[in-house]
């Protein structure tokens, strides 16, 4: 069964602390490197002036870390801002 068809990730920008661990975890999963640019499905924008955090999540490149028991970004999100939601 391909779980990608039935589940996807949802990130709560309010809970997010902007630490970018999820970005690194995704980068590691996809390219075995650490980067916050290009190699990750997640992109985090921090606004230090007003405390806003915006997240771009590219669902189409996410394979839900098929080999892992849980997507790596979730494993490394200490603020529990990322969760799995069911899709049709």
């Amino acid at each position: 069964m391909n779980i990608k068809l039935r589940y996807c990730l949802k990130i709560d920008e309010k809970k997010c602390t902007g630490c970018q661990a999820c970005v690194l975890a995704c980068s590691h999963h996809r390219s075995k490197t650490f980067s916050v640019e290009n190699t990750s499905c997640i992109e985090v924008f921090r606004n230090n002036k007003n405390g806003d955090i915006k997240i771009n999540l590219n669902q189409s490149c996410c394979d839900m870390c098929e080999q892992e028991e849980m997507p790596l970004c979730i494993q490394f999100c200490a603020s529990e801002a990322i969760k799995i939601v069911r899709t049709i």
Partner: protein, 667 residues
């Protein structure tokens, strides 16, 4: 993909596992940039290890800290920018403006990983630019850009204007405010607006070089040596962090988790009224408890890079005189510096003082030291309005504190004297104010629990950078570490007993070498043994660094290296500032004025016991107990022959001092 650590760099093939690969030497006097391989400095791992070594090697003894001959380094470590927890720390090393000895400072944020992704592990900045400039470091390139339009702006405005000019929201900026431009001794460097590299006047060193800011942007990536094992081990470390009780309190209350009545350590001692006491009245503490800041103002956490602790809070203030204020703020130190030490139980004024110190770019500890001292000696009647330019100095006056910050940052009137730091200001004014100057080796201090916690006090007094609790002050006393755990970790059963002097020399000497490991690797102290012995220890660091770089390291190698770096810093101080045993003693207030009440009532630092503790400390390092200087044997054992030669030439070995004295007597 090869390790070029021993090759010359003619072809600039510098890829190395876990590293950006390059060191940039930027001479602002002639606009020349020289690139080296980071491999050249592999021996010193990274971060503070490389920074301290370079400052020792490059800065001549005659060089004033604010002269072009001084250098300032920006250093990352092999774990910076990886998934190792809290891997966003940057180290700044330079010759200390306040002490004229060594300085290192450390800040969090997202600057350091970005610098590494741009390909640079270390920046070494030399000389002085003719006109104000800033550096733009991006993807293997270094640009020197005009900062004339930024001169006079505060650190926050500078960040905004640079981001606007470079039209990239992902740029990270290290900037100085007006204090750095005006060579204020307490000037710091602000990273990502709210993160300060505070110590040693590093902001003034940048100002003296006409260097307003450094902006970084890196689109590269880091490949570690063993990606799978690195990831798995990192997962384990994250789990250990999240299970720690101490870390849970930081996560709940933020950095203030250690500060107030409900904090990690219960009712913690404070620095009150220029460190006159360590107990603040309960009704005052209650007005500024961590829980009130959390409930009233906290809108979210803004974490350091890859940090599961999230101790940094973002506040929106919607009440009072400064309603509308938005800032990432309030570390425990800031709460003490602008709250308890000024006797100011006002949430709104503490937060505004936090903002203004950030904007002007001034270190909270040394700024508080000079402001609190001024109020103290005015209240004691030692100075009057003739000295203060007509200002009436009172405790608990929030407007006065903000006014003094401005006068200091712009060096106007009375502020011009204060801008030189508490030690120099007290020397200039005299009148008996000197003994109330709270400083270590000439650097202002604002510390809590320093009379009651003897090891903590020793670590602050012996710190190579002139105070600060992040060199070797052990946290074990605050946590009442059990005798068994004290023995297991440090061979010191008294490690958890605050009032006990015995064993603390050995304990501090251990932490001095251990703390360097975190500063070399590039992680935050909160992830380490320093805060909780269940967290990252020397062996864990060795494993993380080895998996990241492919170097084969063990915990004991890192501890030995930490000891070497500490000796390099110590030698720098002996050579440049002439420090000796007398400079490792606490100031008057701490030995003569006891804690007024509470659990530690009557506690002070007893001079006789202090001397015994110092003896133990020097012996633990293998140094001479009479002078407090290093010995040839100790340096040779560490393989620091060049350091030994420099000290030999300068006549800074114990027997040389005795010979000199004898010769002098003979004449």
């Amino acid at each position: 993909m090869k390790d070029n650590s021993d090759s010359s760099l003619s072809n600039l093939e510098v890829y190395m596992f876990g590293l950006g690969g390059k060191v940039a030497w930027i001479n602002l006097s002639n606009n020349r940039v020289k690139i080296e391989s980071t491999g050249k400095y592999k021996k010193f791992i990274g971060g503070r290890g490389v920074g301290s070594y370079l400052v020792f090697k490059e800065v001549p003894e005659a060089a004033h800290p604010l002269s072009p001959e001084n250098i300032i380094t920006f250093n990352t470590g092999p774990l910076t920018g990886t998934l190792a927890p809290s891997s966003g720390r940057i180290n700044i090393s330079t010759k200390n403006v306040a002490t004229h000895g060594i300085s290192f400072a450390n800040a969090g944020g997202h600057f350091a990983p970005e610098m590494k992704y741009a390909g640079f592990d270390h920046l070494v900045i030399q000389g002085r630019a003719e006109k104000p400039i800033y550096l733009f470091i991006h993807d293997d390139k270094i640009e020197i850009k005009s900062a004339e339009y930024l001169w006079g702006k505060d650190a926050w405005e500078t960040e905004e204007l640079i981001m606007k000019e470079l039209t990239d929201k992902k740029i990270h900026v290290a900037a100085i405010g007006q204090a750095g431009e005006n060579l204020v001794t307490m000037a710091c460097i602000m990273f990502d607006r709210a993160r300060a590299a505070g110590w040693g006047g590093c902001g003034a060193v940048m100002g003296s070089k006409n260097l307003k800011a450094v902006a970084v942007r890196g689109k590269g990536s880091l490949q570690v040596y063993d990606p799978e094992r690195f990831l798995n081990f990192t997962k384990q470390i994250w789990k250990r962090l999240l299970q720690s009780n101490t870390i849970q309190l930081f996560r709940k209350y933020g950095n203030l988790g250690t500060a107030g009545a409900g904090g990690v350590y219960g009712t913690l001692a404070q620095s009150v009224k220029n460190m006159e006491d360590e107990v603040w009245e309960a009704e005052k503490t209650l007005q500024v408890r961590e829980i009130i800041f959390k409930e009233k103002y906290e809108v979210r956490r803004m974490a350091n890079f890859a940090c599961p602790i999230n101790c940094s809070c973002f506040y929106h203030v919607n009440e009072g005189k400064f309603s509308g204020q938005k800032l990432e703020a309030l570390k425990t130190n800031v709460y003490r510096a602008f709250g308890t030490n000024i006797d100011l139980p006002s949430r709104e004024y503490i937060l505004m003082a936090n903002e203004m110190a950030d904007r002007y770019g001034m270190n909270c500890d040394s700024l508080s030291a000079v402001v609190a001292w001024a109020i103290d000696v005015y209240q004691k009647g030692l100075i009057g309005k003739d000295i203060t330019d007509g200002l009436d100095l009172h405790w608990g006056d929030g407007d006065l504190q903000l006014k003094l910050f401005k006068l200091i940052a712009y060096r106007k009137g009375f502020g011009d004297i204060l801008a030189q730091g508490v030690y120099c200001a007290s020397q200039i004014i005299g009148r008996g104010t000197e003994k109330y100057a709270m400083h270590v080796k000439g650097h202002g201090m604002c510390e809590q629990a320093i009379r009651s916690h003897k090891g903590w006090a020793l670590g602050i007094m012996t710190s190579t950078i002139g105070g600060g609790h992040l060199a070797g002050a052990p946290n074990t006393e605050q946590r009442s570490l059990s005798p068994e755990e004290g023995m297991r970790c440090f061979g010191v059963p008294t490690a958890g007993e605050p009032k006990v002097y015995e064993g603390k020399g050995k304990l501090v000497a251990w932490f001095e070498k251990y703390k360097i490991i975190a500063d070399m690797a590039g992680l935050c102290s909160f992830t380490t043994y320093w805060i909780d012995t269940s967290l990252i220890g020397a062996d864990d660091f060795a494993k993380l660094i080895s998996l990241a770089t492919g170097w084969k390291l063990e915990g004991k190698d890192l501890l030995n290296l930490g000891e070497s770096i500490y000796n390099i810093e110590k030698a720098f101080n002996t050579l440049h500032a002439g420090f000796s045993r007398k400079d490792d003693r606490p100031p008057y207030k701490l030995t003569e004025i006891p804690v007024s009440s509470g659990e530690f009532a009557g506690e002070r630092l007893l001079p006789e016991k202090w001397e015994e503790m110092l003896d133990d400390y020097y012996i633990a390092h293998g140094w001479d107990v009479t002078t407090g200087w290093q010995t040839r044997e100790c340096l040779l054992k560490l393989g620091l022959n060049d350091v030994k030669e420099r000290l030999e030439k300068a006549g800074k070995f114990p027997h040389q001092k005795i010979l000199k004295k004898q010769n002098k007597g003979g004449k």
